[in-house]
């Protein structure tokens, strides 16, 4: 079960939220690399089948990644998904990288992909991966932090969409991530630390 709740982000409640009026849908297909296929990585990869982006999957257990990808394709043959045997190659091809490895694994994996993610968007998800630690390990990337105070994409929410908070320093980068969050079935709520106005997303 995916559990993306984050207590460490409670300070975010003090921050102000603002809405992106209408994020502009990208026509150019983006490539997203998911590094690590634990529960969160698998949940994301499954949810992204609903979208139109190209998705590359990596896990240290290549056999497991291959089988998981084969199952995704069996369930949805139109899904543009591929398993990769090298995290660096997956990152090199990707526009957006989502490390979903345990905190302890982060220094090792970031050292390996560092050269290939330069200036790209790297998304930290909940407490599987601390956004601040990620920015320190990868100083030249655009880290966008995402987290939700509630549950997961797999858990029924009585028809109500769960908010997913998004925090990043550049509006155009955050807009990119908004579409992604919508695709995986959350309600994107953008947090801008520099704004003081709160406007809820409609």
């Amino acid at each position: 079960m995916l559990f993306l709740a984050l207590s460490q982000w409670s300070e975010a409640a003090h921050r102000r939220k603002f809405a992106l009026s209408n994020s502009i849908e990208m026509r150019t297909k983006q490539t997203i690399a998911i590094i690590g296929l634990g529960d969160v990585g698998k949940g994301l990869a499954t949810a992204l089948a609903k979208g139109t982006d190209r998705v590359l999957l990596f896990d240290e257990n290549a056999k497991e990644a291959e089988n998981f990808t084969a199952n995704l394709l069996k369930a949805n043959p139109a899904y543009d998904v591929e398993f990769m045997i090298c995290a660096a190659n997956a990152s090199w091809e990707a526009d957006i990288i989502i490390p979903t490895v345990a905190q302890a694994e982060l220094p090792k994996i970031t050292a390996y992909i560092k050269e290939y993610v330069n200036q790209k968007i790297v998304i930290s998800i909940g407490n599987t991966c601390n956004g601040y630690a990620l920015q320190e390990l990868l100083p030249n990337v655009k880290v966008v932090k995402t987290f939700t105070n509630e549950v997961s994409v797999n858990q029924p929410t009585k028809g109500k969409m769960v908010d997913c908070h998004i925090e990043g320093s550049e509006t155009s980068i955050v807009e990119n991530v908004v579409d992604l969050i919508k695709t995986i079935g959350f309600n994107p709520v953008v947090i801008n630390p520099t704004k003081t106005e709160i406007i809820e997303l409609v």
């Binding site: 026509r27 150019t28 050269e115 200036q119």
Partner: protein, 192 residues
């Protein structure tokens, strides 16, 4: 990953090791497989792309679905929708890979930062834009004044590698011809 890029820069400007290291922090390495898009019409072009390896093309599509190739880019060339990048308006061009490619992307913002911190780069950019302008003008003149055969011969003599590596129907589109017209012109030339 950046070898060809810095070699290209070294043809016009001299960078210190420190400057090269600083430069690298602003660059985005990107692999593109054959037929994948770098940019699709309607999106704003955010990057200029330098080709480290492979080949790309930029083109427009009319209402009937016909493609008009504007530019090819092989190793050592830049490609991008300059109009969209400079104005922030949606791109009218599509850019995709003809071969599996390795690119170095530079965002507009990164470009500004590099110019501020490494002013020599501004000189490089001026020469690059100057050459791009000359090439665009030359291409326009050739399209307006040369015969089919002359256009093909010019391309063959100036960029033999393009003719070798790019499919013939794309060459025809670049020259403003149908594939059949190009094929006839090539046959006639081989008889001479």
């Amino acid at each position: 990953m950046y070898e060809v890029f810095f070699k290209k820069l070294a043809e016009k400007i001299t960078l210190t090791t420190e400057e090269v290291d600083l430069f690298k922090t602003y660059l985005t390495p990107k692999k593109l497989r054959r037929k994948q898009y770098l940019l699709q019409e309607g999106d704003v072009c955010k990057y200029s792309a330098f080709v480290e390896k492979g080949a790309l093309r930029s083109y427009t599509i009319d209402e009937k679905g016909n493609e008009y190739i504007i530019q090819f880019a092989l190793e050592g060339w830049f490609i991008g929708d300059m109009y969209s990048m400079l104005t922030g308006e949606p791109a009218t061009q599509n850019i995709d890979a003809i071969e599996d490619s390795e690119l170095v992307l530079i965002s507009k913002q990164a470009e500004e930062e590099i110019m501020k911190r490494i002013p020599k780069y501004e000189h490089f950019m001026r020469l690059l834009l100057q050459n791009a302008y000359i090439a665009a003008q030359r291409r326009f003149n050739h399209m307006a004044s040369l015969s089919t055969e002359e256009r093909y011969t010019k391309l063959l003599n100036t960029y033999p590698e393009i003719v070798q590596r790019v499919p013939q129907h794309m060459i025809a589109s670049y020259l403003g011809l149908t594939p059949e017209t190009l094929s006839r012109a090539r046959k006639q030339m081989s008889r001479k």
